[in-house]
Amino acid sequence: MASSIQRFSALAGSQLRRQTLTRGFRTASATNAAQAMTMPAMSPTMTEGGIAAWKFKEGESFSAGDVLLEVETDKAQIDVEAPEDGVLAKIIVPEGAKGVAVGTRIAVLAEQGDDLATLEMPAEDAKLEAKKEEITPEQSTKQQHTAQTKPPTVEASAESTPAASHNHPDPKRPQHPSPSVMNLLKTHKLEASQIAGTGPKGRLLKGDILAHLGRINKAAPGELSARLTKYSKLDLSNIKPAAPKPKPAAAAPPPEKEAVKPAPPKESELAMPVNFASVSRVQEKLQNTLGVRVPLSTFINKATAAANAALPPAKSAPTQDELFNDLLGLPNSPRKASRGNFTPTITPLPRKGVQAVEFGPSTEQPDIFDVLIGAAPTRGVAARTKPKGPQEGILAGGENLLTLKVPADEEERARVFLGRVKGLLEERAGELVL
């Protein structure tokens, strides 16, 4: 087998090789003995569970780590992984079964290479029975409780209801009371068997003794116990799925939205017309002399970068150092020029509109006058120059508009920036590429 795998592995890629090789191995050796798989307790409190799904069919083989089945408990659905490689010989408890006690045999697992036909399954069964009988009485009442099928839940609920009437405490009642209970019993010379307990499984509590002694309301422990029993399980039966929300009226919101709108970020939009005539002249020149076509974008990129290089410092609130220096009357070092990261938007300018362009800030906010008279906004560069449809691109060799949206405190920098870009593109276009 190994040689055939190796021969195969020589052909396959290294990753595949590793996988096939390791998958081919297994730590277990074939012993031709089936193993019973019992219902696993997936949590310490689980006593029974349902089988939501078997992920393998009878006769299929699995590797360690594969999900064999999904177990359903009252809390969650949990995957049960195979601890080692093997074959699912027989499924005993089918999919969909509910209330399967922990420890019940649910399947028979065999090992890869085992002959499923000759597996001895009944022997396994007998062994299991024998094991069940083996449990000695002193091995704590707990084990019996869990091992012997379903009734525990019913019993438990019956027990936990306050059984104050009968004077013979349950034999299953926990034998070791807490120190405070022991102390009370001892100081008042009482016998534990005289008093009915109201704790879990009839456990004797401090309150029971105090009630017995008449130090507290006699009904209190019973009431408390009933309350705990009632709330120990969250009753969700009265909860109904929420009714679908009525669809919001279609027309209503818009006016309100606009009313909310007047809190736009403090941004201002700067605009500046730029003429690309000089750029296209340089382009032509280059084309003629060097035979190189330099695209317009190169000019713009370079102009942007150069203009961004060292811009005057942003007008921002004085720093703590500066305030401190002011207080002491010390000179503040001038703020350093810094690199900007402006990226202008370039849009072709409608020829007719050129004369209206003014160099200055404008806001997208409608003019208060327009709002008052209820007219469409007419002022502001943005309103006038915004193209209606999809843009055609830059108007090569003609008038274009450089626009820039900046936060209010960067306005000064942005203005310098735009001025530089304009200067570079209109007057020193040649220097940009040479």
Binding site: L21, A41, S63, V102, Q139, K186
Partner: protein, 411 residues
């Protein structure tokens, strides 16, 4: 649109690039420790089981911090390889038995399994002597078994039986034997204790070391760094070994740790990162660490990169913070047992049938001892038992308090 494409002009890029170069002079290391368990090369393998031969480990098994990495060549014998394989297989079998017993509700309480991390316990055990000490956290079954206990004692302890390693009174987190200081339930608490054990060794002039193991979760504990400090200050021969299985209780290590290179956590202590899925690499690194510590150079921080297949503990399904695919992939490609198996076959150390025989031996051993452990009686239910085995005989106080005045126990 063109306006949008104003992104990468050369004028802009040039100063940017130079900044980058100035800020990041460190070249990115291409060599990283992998968790590959299988690749290594070997010369001629002798026919004698006890005759050593040289094995060269692959390039990526070690990564050192302020330290010359140990040689990648080590000498092993055929019988050693077989023994390592047997140890790893029996640890895995034992952990699987514990898992199954837990799911039958026979084992209760805490139970942390080391399925997938067997190579670390095995590699360390094969590099040190019984006079050296090991102290680890609560993922301790494999260490307890290899340090000189038995599978029966470990499983009986888990079952709470008299034949348990701590007489059935400790459980999963509290296993002790000679040269093995537990089994510690408090996260990270074993690290300063380990430094103390090593300090005792130095104090008594013994040529031994103590491996203080902790997980990647515990690596963020303050006391770990306190132990680092004292250990380095006094050049204590302790090896701080982090078993990095990539996930703390329910969190990936990179979501919990600012620096996930645990071997550099010592800062002023040299570190060594080791492929913890390669038992030979672990053995070589542990041998190197012992030599380093014993030669008086002070402590060493190690990181064993490994992976656990199961959840953090029995109540963790182990698939909520990682994908099942990841687990399956690690299991199928980088399993330490399969890795060693592949090498053994490739080098012709053992045949497939012989390996099957080893598997069978391990299985039989574990099965037999589990049955014996289950047959062991529970501890006597009297007050005497409660107060027994707490102190080293002769060192008891005059009395120990019980729940009530009447229960006070006088030694």
């Amino acid at each position: 649109m063109l306006a949008r494409s104003l992104r990468s002009p050369r004028l802009l890029a040039a100063p940017l690039r130079s900044q980058f170069v100035a800020a990041a002079p460190k070249p990115l290391s291409l060599r990283t420790v992998t968790t590959d368990a299988a690749s290594a090369s070997v010369g001629a393998v002798p026919s004698d089981a006890e005759q050593p031969f040289t094995v060269t480990l692959p390039n990526e098994v070690f990564e050192a911090y302020e330290l010359d990495a140990p040689s990648r060549q080590l000498e092993v014998t055929k019988s050693q390889l077989r023994q390592m394989y047997f140890h790893m297989t029996s640890i895995r079998r034992m952990e699987m038995a514990a898992d199954s017993l837990y799911k039958q509700k026979k084992i209760r309480g805490f139970c942390h399994l080391s399925t997938g991390q067997e190579a670390i316990a095995t590699g360390i055990e094969h590099a040190i002597t019984k006079e050296d000490a090991v102290i680890t956290a609560y993922r301790c079954h494999g260490f307890a078994y290899l340090r000189g206990s038995t599978v029966k004692a470990v499983i009986a302890e888990l079952l709470g039986r008299k034949d348990g390693i701590a007489y059935g009174k400790g459980g999963s987190m509290h296993m002790f034997c000679k040269g093995f200081y537990g089994g510690n339930g408090i996260v990270g608490a074993q690290v300063p204790v380990g430094a103390g054990i090593a300090f005792a060794m130095k104090y008594e002039d013994k040529p031994n070391t103590c491996f203080a193991l902790y997980g990647d979760g515990a690596a963020n504990q303050g006391q770990v760094f306190e132990a680092y400090n004292m250990a380095k200050l006094w050049d204590v021969p302790v090896v701080f070994a982090c078993e990095n299985n990539k996930y703390g209780m329910g969190t990936a290590s990179n979501r919990a740790s600012a620096l996930t290179e645990y071997y550099k956590r010592g800062q002023y202590i040299p570190g060594l990162k080791v492929n913890g899925m390669d038992v030979l690499a672990v053995k070589q690194a542990a041998a190197f660490a012992k030599e380093y510590a014993v030669s008086g150079k002070g402590p060493l921080v190690m990181e064993f990169v490994t992976y656990r297949y199961g959840g953090h503990s029995m109540s963790d399904p182990g698939t909520t913070y990682r994908t099942r695919d990841e687990v399956v992939n690690m299991r199928s490609t980088q399993d330490p047992i399969q890795g060693l198996r592949k090498r053994i076959l490739e080098w012709g150390v053992l045949t497939e049938d012989e390996l099957k025989q080893v598997d069978k031996e391990a299985r039989q051993l574990v099965d037999k001892e589990v049955v014996e452990a289950e047959e062991s009686p529970v501890p006597d239910t009297n007050f005497e038992t409660l107060f027994k085995d707490i102190y080293v005989p002769g060192s008891e106080p005059r009395w120990t308090r019980g729940r009530t005045a009447e229960e006070t126990h006088y030694y």
